[in-house]
Amino acid sequence: MSGARPLEPWRWLGIPMLQAIVATLALGVPFRMFTLQLPEPVFPMVLAFAWAVIRPSILAPFAILILGLFLDVFWGGPLGLWALCLLIAYGVALAGRSMMAGQGRLIFFVWYSLVTATALVAGYLFVMLDARSSPGVVAMAWQFLATIVLYPFAQRLIDLFEDADVRFR
């Protein structure tokens, strides 16, 4: 009956969380070559999507809250901005979980892109209200592209843990 055992949080929440933090730190170094800078994707977006698809959880929203606050502190933005954006993304993915069940990878990718776009649009609106000025759409588009490129990581996480908890197969 080992298959019926609940999924241990440190395996599907703790380790990916640490990996996302390390990846964010690594891409936050000031490095520029031939006038090009490193891209700045939102690594925790992978987790916000994958965790919602894997199974509903009480711990996951709080893990996302912590990751979002880390992003805000590390990137120096308004505190709580990315926390809220990621939680909105998680909520959208959780709400669409039943529609995603049994679909192919392409549909998953479309959903992931939709969730990412929702988070960025929410961020755009919050920043607009906070700073009373509109953020650049081109900069947002670059970050959107850099983030949706990370979809294979989300798929890998889903493949690893989707069937790990029999209650949510």
Binding site: V29, P30, Q37
Partner: protein, 380 residues
């Protein structure tokens, strides 16, 4: 096994509801944190304890992580320099020839400028102390553009200090802790910097939007700007000193004037933090806000003031208290030039601290032309 046959299927609903409630709680917490955030406020207290603690931790981590990138970048630059040595040599020679002409012009202008300053008795800006620092982390998203520099409170850095690279203005310090300071870049959405166009002296506000080229808002004047105009800090508001290079003006694809930042010419790895104090911190606000009591208006039947009353000296010296050193004291509109009054004004024995401070900063100004207009102003 079908979904209905799953014996643990009914457990899904309560857990899903619990997850939804956890999500709502987390959203409420995030919203409360966002609403209470005061990042862009120009006060050191607004930079919370959590941010200071995290910056203290992140600065050494970023420093270690940036080492490979720094080495790689330096190696690439060395290789580029090696292969481009010939063409660079001819370019530098041409540049040197041009610079020699500019050097002669600059020497002549500097001399002329110094003479004009002496003649006018202008109070020149004191030299600004600087602190060199290395950038250890970098964020470039649409919602936040900040950098962490590895010099903090222990080096005298304060909130509001302007930050420059070797090419131009980078931003200003918004948070300081031990060993690290957070720099808000000109491209950040919360950044507003008063600038002027070098050619026309027209003013504008440089507004960041998360992209590489911040836009110019509130441009004033008729035809104030052209493509390629140089932009400098205007010093309006006293937060940033006047004349720091910012960039060049370009017309954006959206039809708005934008700026190609001068600091973007090279990677921003080392920066200089100017220990420039805001004008409002330097002056004595309490003294400045003192309102002098206006002298009483003499009526048509009033007896002319002959003898020096005890408060006559106070009344006459009141405008002199506020006047900067070297300036002509402003005469009250109804003041009659009486010998007794002029005697009371002329010595001006009680010099205020600000006046004393201003006069000490003008040590390069010859004393004679400064004193003469003041005396003339009283006698005429």
């Amino acid at each position: 096994m079908s979904f209905r046959d799953n014996p643990l299927g009914e457990l899904k609903v309560p857990l899903t509801w619990a997850a939804a409630i956890a999500l709502i709680v987390a959203v409420v917490a995030a919203t409360a944190i966002l609403l209470s955030d005061r990042r862009e406020i120009f006060k050191s207290q607004a930079y919370g304890v959590s941010r200071k603690a995290s910056d203290t931790v992140l600065a050494p981590v970023g420093n270690v992580l940036s080492v490979p990138g720094r080495w790689t970048g330096q190696g690439v630059e060395n290789i580029k320099d090696y292969f481009a040595a010939g063409s660079q040599n001819s370019e530098l020679k041409a540049e040197l020839r041009e610079m020699k002409q500019w050097r002669d012009t600059a020497i002549a202008l500097r001399d002329e400028n110094a003479r004009f300053r002496n003649l006018l008795g202008l109070k020149t800006d004191p030299p600004i102390a600087m602190v060199a620092a290395r950038v250890v982390t970098d964020s470039r998203g649409p919602f936040a553009d900040t950098r962490l520099a590895n010099a903090g409170r222990e080096r005298g850095v304060k909130v509001g200090n302007p930050v420059m690279s070797e090419n131009g203005l980078v931003g200003r310090v918004i948070g300081v802790t031990e060993g690290a300071s957070r720099v808000l870049l000109l491209t950040d959405i919360a950044s507003r910097t008063p600038v002027m166009i070098g050619r026309t002296n027209a003013r504008a506000i440089l507004t960041g939007d998360g992209g590489p080229n911040p836009r110019l808002d509130y441009l004033r004047g008729r035809d104030p700007i052209r493509d390629g105009d140089r932009l400098l800090t205007s010093g309006d508001g006293g937060v940033v000193p006047r004349g720091l290079p910012v960039g060049t003006a370009v017309k954006g694809l959206d039809g708005r004037w934008r700026v190609v930042l001068a600091s973007d010419r090279a990677p921003i790895d080392f920066v200089r933090i100017l220990l420039f104090e805001d004008f409002t911190q330097v002056i004595n606000q309490q003294e400045l806000s003192q309102t002098p009591v206006p002298p009483p208006t003499a009526g048509p039947g009033a007896t002319p003031l002959r003898s020096q009353s005890p408060d006559a000296g106070d009344r006459a010296s009141a405008p002199a208290k506020l006047a900067p050193a070297g300036a002509t004291p402003s005469k009250p509109a109804n003041a009659q030039p009486k010998p007794a009054e002029s005697a009371a004004v002329k010595p001006a024995p009680s010099k205020t601290p600000s006046a004393a401070k201003a006069s000490t900063t003008q040590s390069d100004t010859p004393p004679k032309p400064k004193a003469k207009p003041a005396a003339d102003g009283v006698r005429n």
